[in-house]
Each structure stands twice: as structure tokens, then as C-alpha cells.
Symmetry: C2
Subunit: 217 residues, 2 copies
DNA sequence: AGCTTTACTGACCAAAAGGTCAATTACTAA
DNA sequence: TTAGTAATTGACCTTTTGGTCAGTAAAGCT
């Protein structure tokens, strides 16, 4: 028999319920913001008594923090293991592409982060300091090395990163505006390619690179 | 004597008070969002009885709408009177520059719009449909004409506009993140030029243009 | 001056917010 | 089986919310 380490019904149901609650909370917080979503709404959405949520998460703040923590845990900043020897065009193209795919297909998390940052990032400050900042520092170094080796134009690498983030996340965070301006109801299958192409063209060419030959993924 | 058309004390004080209230509301809504800011906070900030706000603006919704209306009234979408005969590089460079200046110096309004769009733009839908959409259409036509005349690269003009909007607004809406990542407390005098330079370099070169010689404003 | 009308606001209200708690219902381990 | 512990939740609490309203003050008009 497979050595089960205590099936432990309690833990199982707790984790099941917590997931239910976190899913509902994630959706509501990203849709309505921290203040816009209420505990009773989350309770109703998760089909769980409100007191149960408080029992698991102590407070609304606690719930919100757990939602953010869970997102961060599954968060991939991308651009892993990039080194000076990699080809800038390929690396950046793939980064842009993956960010566009994320923005179009999973806008909720991006929007939750956006509304958090809009409010001054009270819960994300620590994350930015301990995770994003070192991550950025490292990428900036690689970008700088590429520039020093004349592989690409010399521009402020921070602003280059901000440019990539802003252009890609825009399609998640400002989806409502994009769709209204383009007179669409939702993104269609061709949009990801369209958006990736446009952004990659501008940014890559803009820093002196060529869009790499594609390349199925 | 100057022909005064009724100094009318009533109207004067009403307008003065309304301005007080709208200023306070604009600040609080942009800082805390619609749900995060309460009527009593606005009242306290504006140093006016809460009932007075309700008297002027009927409801919280009414106040919020008035705040948005006032912003829109003073809103300049920029790129006015652009024609096919203008020089794309100059026009776009100036547009980017003006948007960066706005983002760095007046981030509040940008953030209010951002949080409004994040929530699905309930109050801005109409504005987008009746104002932004036609505005965009017109600019898109000019951009397209420039492309057809081989004055710049052929890319989707909508996405080009989104790129300009996203990169510039980013410094207002995501100011907290930018500052945390760059380890700064606030933007300094050199930042506007830095940011403008970086964005303009990427975008203009990215669409086959050269940054125009500057040019004091 | 006095009368009318509009502007204002303190006191109040119902609803909803986040949160507590005592009582009940599971589980688990002996 | 059962005692002990942890999980669960309905009822309840306080505070705050957006909003009303009746009474008062202040113009405006003749």
C-alpha cells in the first residue's frame, strides 16, 4: 500500500475550503478592489459562512494578504537565467510574447496588482523591495552588458523594462478602455499575435534589434 | 463702472464651496478610489458639512461624476490639428514629451482615470464612445496616411497609440512601483527628461523615425 | 422693513460594513 | 466508545456608510 501520511480529513477539507475562499476573493478583489469587495460578498461567492472566512484568515486584511501571497507564490517574473551570452532579440521577444499572453488570458492578477499599486502598494512594498528590486537589478546588469558589447542601443535599462511592462500589462489593466476604443467586446484569437507583433516591432527595433525568425512554441 | 452682471453673492459662495469640495473629492478619489473614499472624508478634507456636499451633488455618485466631468472638461487629448503634412517625428515626440510631463507633475487625474478603467469604466464608457473613439479614429487615419506615404513603419496605428499611452501613463499610475524599483522617494527634475528621452528613443526609432533636434519649449 | 425663497446644516436613520463569541458539530487519539 | 480538542457558524455587536429631513439662517425682492 502507498504510504499515506495521514489522509487527515480535517486538513483536506480545510485546504479545499481555503482554496474556494481564495478563488472567490481573488476574483472579487481584482474586480472591485480592496474596498469595493466585502467579506459577505466573498462568503456568498465562495458559498461559505462569513464567520468561516474570518476563522481561516483572521481579518479582511489577512484574507487580502493571503490572496496576494498566493499570487506571488505562483508568480513568475520571467527572464530567468538570462546571461550576457544569450541573444538579446530572442530573449526580449519571448519575454514580450509571454507577457502579452498573460495579459490577454489572465488579466485578473495583473489588475489586482495594478489596483494595489495605484493605492501606493501598501501590501506589495515588501515584495518589491525584497524580490522585484533584486530581480530588476540583475536584469539591468545583463542589459547593460549587452549595451556595452554593442549588441543593442544604449538606453536606460530601467526605463526599457518599464516600457516592456507598461505596454504589455496595458492590455490587461486597461482592457476596458482598449476594447471600447477598438470597438470590440473581447479579445479574439488573433489579438495576441497582433499585439505581440506591434509591441515587439516597436521595442526591439527601437533598441536596435531585429525581431527573431519565428518559431513555434 | 464695469457692467457687472449681478455679483450675486449666492452664486459666488456656491461656486467657491463647490470648488473646495471637488478639489477634496478629486484628491481622495484618486488616492483611495471610489469605494475607498467616503463622503465624511471628503467633508472633513473640504472643511464643509457632509450634508452640504449632498445638497450640492445629490449623492456620492453625483459627486464622483462631477469630479470626472470637471477633469474631462479640462482634458486635452493632445495631438490637436495634426495633418498628413506634419512631420511625424516632431508631432509624436512632442506628444510623448507632453504626456510624460503630465504624468510626472499631475499624476492624480491619470490615477483617477486608471482606477475607473480598472473597474470597467462604468462612468467613462460614454466618454470613450463619444469622445475618445472619434479622436482616435482621426489620429489613426493620419498615422495610416504617414505609413502609406512611407514616412514611417507600417504597424497597427491603434497599438502604436496604446504604446504611447501605456509607456507615459505608467509613470503616473504606477509611480509607487517605479519609485520602489528605482529606490527613489520621488521623481526629481532630471527624470522628466530621462523618461522622455528613453521612451522617445524606443518608440520613434521603433517606428522608423529619428528623434528631432531639440528645441526649447 | 418685512416677506419669500433659497441655502444650509445638525440630528437622525436604515443598511451594511468588519468583526466577536458562545454554542454546536465534527474529528482524532486513547 | 468516549473524552478531549479543533472546526464551524448563527446570532450578535459596534462603527461607519450613504442618505434624509425638519428647522434655521441668509439673501433677494418690493
Amino acid at each position: 500500500m502507498t504510504t499515506q501520511i495521514k489522509p487527515n480529513k480535517k486538513e483536506v477539507t480545510r485546504e479545499k475550503n481555503q482554496k474556494l475562499i481564495l478563488d472567490a476573493a481573488e476574483q472579487l478583489f481584482s474586480q472591485l478592489g480592496y474596498d469595493g469587495a466585502s467579506m459577505s460578498m466573498v462568503a456568498k461567492e465562495a458559498q461559505v459562512p462569513k464567520a468561516n472566512i474570518l476563522y481561516y484568515f483572521k481579518s479582511k486584511d489577512g484574507l487580502y494578504e493571503s490572496v496576494i501571497d498566493r499570487i506571488i507564490a505562483n508568480w513568475n517574473l520571467g527572464l530567468d537565467n538570462v546571461t550576457i551570452n544569450d541573444d538579446p532579440a530572442t530573449v526580449l521577444y519571448n519575454y514580450i510574447k509571454s507577457k502579452v499572453i498573460l495579459a490577454v488570458n489572465q488579466p485578473m492578477q495583473s489588475r489586482l496588482f495594478a489596483s494595489e499599486i495605484l493605492r501606493g502598494a501598501p501590501y506589495l512594498q515588501n515584495y518589491f523591495r525584497t524580490n522585484t528590486r533584486p530581480w530588476v537589478k540583475q536584469k539591468v546588469d545583463v542589459l547593460q552588458a549587452w549595451m556595452d558589447a554593442d549588441k543593442m542601443d544604449k538606453i536606460d535599462p530601467y526605463h526599457l523594462l518599464f516600457t516592456i511592462w507598461s505596454t504589455t500589462q496595458y492590455y490587461a489593466d486597461f482592457q476596458a478602455e482598449v476594447l471600447l476604443v477598438m470597438n470590440k467586446l473581447e479579445y479574439d484569437e488573433t489579438d495576441v499575435a497582433q499585439i505581440t507583433q506591434s509591441i515587439a516591432h516597436i521595442i526591439l527595433k527601437g533598441i536596435g534589434l531585429k525581431i527573431p525568425e519565428q518559431s513555434e512554441t
